[in-house]
């Protein structure tokens, strides 16, 4: 019994990490239709900056998070101005291919820049781990790493926050309108550029902070960005694109499935099981677990 509980708690904690990886990607894809392949790279950059600030510059973690958010705020403005804005006016097909190409180029250059800079100036063995000690928590006789609980709490807060933003605020409703019909958005006088600016700024800052939380539990390396993007896409498709609360559920399902598989078949098969689940869901329910999402 205690063993089963341990599996469930471990699976949910892993699910929190997957949801953390995916929620901001889900938000931007569904609303702006820009397929951001460099998402995973932003995530790794967030983690790397956090490690740099806390371990090498010896800043307090809260200060580090603040500086990180400020940095990525500026970066998000540049991203919006340089990449999103020129792409947004294109038709659906060209927007899609253009965004893949542009963000893939960005991902390659950011990835190699980070790897090179880290090896040259910081540490010849580029692995980003945080040494922040987290208290272990005992829950019903099951010991659990505190950092995973912190992640779980953080991601639930973020997802709920973004969900409320989309449902209740003016700009959130505008974002959903843009997801439904870009031209209609222009007709009723919503400015899609301003909308996407708001969305990308929020999403990129959230991604970077998520990366910082991620390194508390799992080490990252500079070249993990693109595989992480793929992983995030799996979660996004499983949840249904744009359905933020479902990201939590999809993360939990994947986490549980992977933990149980690791237990009975070996760790190496865990990713294969998540892909099998994904394809089963696509066959029987192409729109993901809960259908169409927020729009």
């Amino acid at each position: 019994m205690a063993r089963a509980l341990e599996l469930v708690v471990g699976g949910l904690a892993l699910g929190g990490i997957y949801a953390l990886l995916a929620f901001s990607l889900s938000l931007t894809i569904s609303t702006t239709r820009i397929l951001n392949v460099s998402h995973g790279v932003f995530f790794v950059w967030g983690g790397a900056c956090f490690v740099l600030f806390t371990q090498h510059l010896r800043l307090h973690p809260a200060v580090a998070i603040l500086i990180l958010t400020a940095l990525f705020f500026v970066f998000a403005l540049l991203f919006q101005w340089g990449i999103v804005r020129p792409l947004l006016g294109r038709n659906v097909h060209l927007l899609l291919v253009g965004s893949i190409m542009a963000t893939f180029g960005l991902a390659l250059s950011m990835e190699s820049a980070l790897g090179y800079a880290w090896v040259t100036y910081v540490d010849p063995y580029p692995v980003f781990t945080s040494s922040l000690a987290m208290f272990p928590v005992t829950l019903g006789g099951v010991a659990l790493s505190g950092s995973r609980l912190v992640i779980l709490g953080f991601v639930v807060l973020m997802v709920m926050g973004f969900h409320l933003f989309l449902q209740k605020t003016f700009w959130g409703r505008g974002a959903r309108a843009m997801a439904q019909n870009f031209d209609g958005c222009l007709v009723i006088g919503l400015n899609p550029y301003r909308l996407s600016l708001i969305l990308f700024t929020l999403a990129i800052m959230a991604t970077a902070v998520s990366g910082a939380f991620y390194v508390l539990a799992v080490p990252l390396n500079p070249y993990e960005g693109l595989p992480l993007t793929l992983k995030a896409f799996t979660v996004v498709i499983l949840a249904g694109v744009g359905n933020l609360p479902a990201t939590l559920v999809a993360g939990a399902v994947l986490g549980l499935a992977e933990v149980i598989t690791s237990q009975f078949l070996g760790t190496v098969w865990a990713p294969a099981v998540s892909l099998a689940i994904l394809f089963l869901v696509l066959v029987f329910k192409p729109t993901g677990f809960f259908g169409k999402g927020v729009y």
């Binding site: 894809i29 239709r33 397929l35 392949v37 340089g82 990449i83 020129p86 792409l87 294109r90 659906v92 097909h93 060209l94 899609l96 291919v97 253009g98 965004s99 893949i100 190409m101 542009a102 893939f104 180029g105 960005l106 991902a107 390659l108 250059s109 950011m110 990835e111 190699s112 820049a113 790897g115 090179y116 693109l226 595989p227 793929l230 992983k231 896409f233 799996t234 996004v236 498709i237 694109v241 190496v268 098969w269 990713p271 294969a272 892909l275 994904l278 394809f279 696509l282 066959v283 192409p286």
Partner: protein
């Protein structure tokens, strides 16, 4: 549609030039050209789905990796090694069959998705094969990869001509599609799927056909690549860029044009070769390569052969059919 004589002459001259080119090339340049042809095959096949059916298939690299892996796995079996000259036939046919089967099976879940969702779903294909290649260690060697037994190596000179033939074959397939009823059915689905369905063009059937015929030359290119390099592992044969770069090359050249993939592949390969072999940069070349891709995506939205500036050049306009 009749052929423009100038375009025909230009294409024939280009092909003839490529046929005698190996006589003047050093072995390293021969390899560069061989790899470019391999990329061109993947790009041309990618364009079957993008240019004619309007579906962005980011899983094209999966067929490449599958072909490479099936061929190399079979070459490591003693019973296949003893077949003599038949060995190459057996491995090629099995690799093609495996790719076609994989395409046909995957078509059912994937084509239930559309547009953006289809693109993401197909990108996950390569992830799936990567996981399998990493974990089925007894068959694939896991992360250590697989070696081709030395006596089955293919030298680059032969590889050059085979890859050239394969590339011309792939382009001929696109040419056929641009001027046949099959291609017309594809374009019909691209324009409006519901309308196509209502006049009796079954979208699912034609999408399945497209994915299967697009998978075959790509798998053959994978076989050539494995035989020439002598070693494959999950990163070389199934890296994410195997799927993403072809779509960029096709887009750069102009999707839905027969010669677009040639221009796109040539440009990206030239940029790549210059950055990685000639410029001795103090910082990683990948950085500049990435920035170049980014710039191209933003500056040439609809591809070179379809851009207005290109069409104004009278001599080259004929190529953009």
């Amino acid at each position: 549609m009749s052929l423009d004589p100038r375009a025909t002459a230009l294409v024939l001259a280009g092909t003839g030039g490529l046929c005698i080119l190996p006589l003047f090339l050093s072995s390293s340049w021969l390899l560069v050209m061989f790899l470019s042809f391999v990329w061109l095959v993947i790009t041309a096949n990618y364009d079957v789905l993008d240019g004619f059916l309007g579906q962005i298939n980011l899983g094209q690299g999966a067929f490449f990796g599958l072909g490479a892996y099936v061929a190399t796995m079979l070459l490591n079996l003693p019973s296949v090694q003893q077949l003599g000259a038949l060995t190459f036939v057996v491995i090629t046919v099995s690799a093609l069959a495996a790719a076609a089967l994989f395409a046909a099976v995957m078509a059912f879940p994937l084509f239930r998705l559309k547009g953006l969702y289809f693109a993401i779903g197909t990108l996950i294909l390569i992830f799936l094969l990567q996981v399998l290649a990493l974990n089925l260690t007894p068959l694939t060697g896991g992360s250590y990869g697989l070696y081709v037994p030395p006596r089955f190596f293919m030298n680059t000179f032969i590889g050059y001509y085979l890859a050239l033939a394969l590339a011309i074959g792939s382009l001929a397939l696109n040419f056929y599609l641009s001027r046949s009823t099959l291609g017309l059915a594809f374009r019909c689905i691209k324009e409006d799927e519901d309308a196509a369905n209502s006049i009796g063009v079954d979208p699912m059937k034609y999408k399945l056909i497209a994915l299967v015929i697009a998978s075959l030359p790509t798998a053959a290119a994978g076989v050539l690549f494995a035989l020439n390099s002598g070693y494959i592992d999950p990163n070389i044969a199934l890296g994410v860029e195997r799927s993403l770069l072809p779509s960029l090359m096709a887009l750069l050249g102009g999707t839905g044009t027969v010669l677009g993939p040639v221009f796109g592949t040539a440009i990206i390969r030239i940029i790549e070769t210059v950055f990685f072999h000639y410029l001795r940069l103090p910082v990683p070349s990948l950085l500049f390569f990435g920035i170049t891709l980014l710039a191209v995506a933003l500056l040439i939205p609809e591809g070179l052969l379809k851009s207005a500036r290109f069409k104004r050049l009278p001599f080259l306009r004929a190529l953009a059919s």
